[in-house]
Amino acid sequence: MIPQRRYLGILIAGIGIALIVTLFSPWASSHPDGLERVAEDKEFIDRAEAEPKYEVIPDYQFPGVDNERVATVLAGITGVIAVAAILLGAGMFLSRGRDDAEPSSLTAGGG
């Protein structure tokens, strides 16, 4: 299903907002997060397996980029585009053969 024009605008604007958010990700707080803080305080952090079985983009640092901030933003852009592509692909597959603008669009949100 090709998104109709009024939803195509949402798609472009929404992904644009997500990409803008990733530009700020280098300035995200680097303090331990909630679960990590509790695991440290309550002394079960050592149970975490130290080494991942493999690495693609570990620690949200795009590999091969020396500048950490650039590497973070590139990792974010990669993730945003990958998630959007997966969901658009899955959604188009689920809605295959149905390109009519059925008004059930309003009830899909449960309203």
Binding site: I10, V21, T72, L87
Partner: protein, 238 residues
């Protein structure tokens, strides 16, 4: 993810607020997580397939992109701790719980597979905690409070905040119970600590969710099933 590297922290996204790393959960608990996740995903695919409309596909892509980006933005909470948005409640408010589960599966799954954020053995549990529970709880709380719009003009935004806050606490509760059953930490230790810190993180989740809903109300209220006048379109289908 940073949980594997305590010590000097690089600039940028720290670890995530609730992503369980491998090693924290016992094999039975991790397996049970995959079973619940599998059932939820199967039903979500079926339900979404049945109800999919012209707006569903682009909104799923947008929600996934936004939630992935928002999850990278750790914000500070008290005591040298950070948290970040989960997004399941917002996705469910916009898309309904079933499509929201698909969105959260894509986000959390990609974080584990591509970014080594959250373990692979515990991936099922992580999707259940951060995606399935948040979607249902957030959806339920939102729709329980929103009808108060007849009396309180800001009910939709308040409902969004409450839905998000409660969803984070329920996710923290579920995570804690899994840690207890896995014999990783005793109930009396992990439960108050997790609920306490996530009560603060939930405020951040609530503020972002309420801001996003306010933005949609101002720009595209039709997405939330609201007419421009602000009246809720209960049961009105085109």
């Amino acid at each position: 993810m940073s949980m594997t590297l305590p010590g000097p922290e690089v600039a940028g996204a720290a670890g995530p607020a609730l992503h369980i790393p491998d090693g924290f959960l016992s094999t039975p608990v991790a397996t049970a997580g995959y079973v619940v996740f599998g059932v939820a995903l199967a039903v979500a695919l079926r339900q979404t397939d049945r109800k999919i409309g012209p707006r569903t596909v682009p909104l799923m892509g947008v929600m996934g992109a936004f939630i992935f980006a928002a999850q990278m933005m750790n914000f500070p909470v008290a005591g040298g701790t950070s948290g970040h948005m989960l997004g399941g409640a917002l996705a469910a408010i916009v898309l309904g719980p079933w499509a929201a589960i698909l969105v959260m599966t894509a986000v959390v799954g990609l974080q584990a597979l591509l970014f080594q954020d959250g373990g692979l053995v515990v991936l099922g549990a992580n999707v259940v905690n951060m995606g399935v529970l948040t979607a249902f709880v957030g959806y339920g709380v939102y729709h329980a409070i929103r009808p108060l719009g007849r009396f309180i003009p800001q009910a939709t935004v308040v409902a969004a905040f409450a839905a998000a806050w409660v969803s984070v606490e329920v996710a923290a509760l579920a995570t804690s119970l899994q840690l207890v059953v896995s014999d990783t930490s005793p109930f009396s230790v992990v439960m108050p600590a997790m609920l306490g810190v996530h009560a603060l993180i939930g405020i951040g989740e609530g503020l972002i969710t309420a801001a996003a809903v306010s933005f949609l109300l101002a720009t595209r209220p039709d997405i939330l099933g609201v007419r421009r006048t602000g009246a809720v379109m209960e049961g009105v289908a085109g």
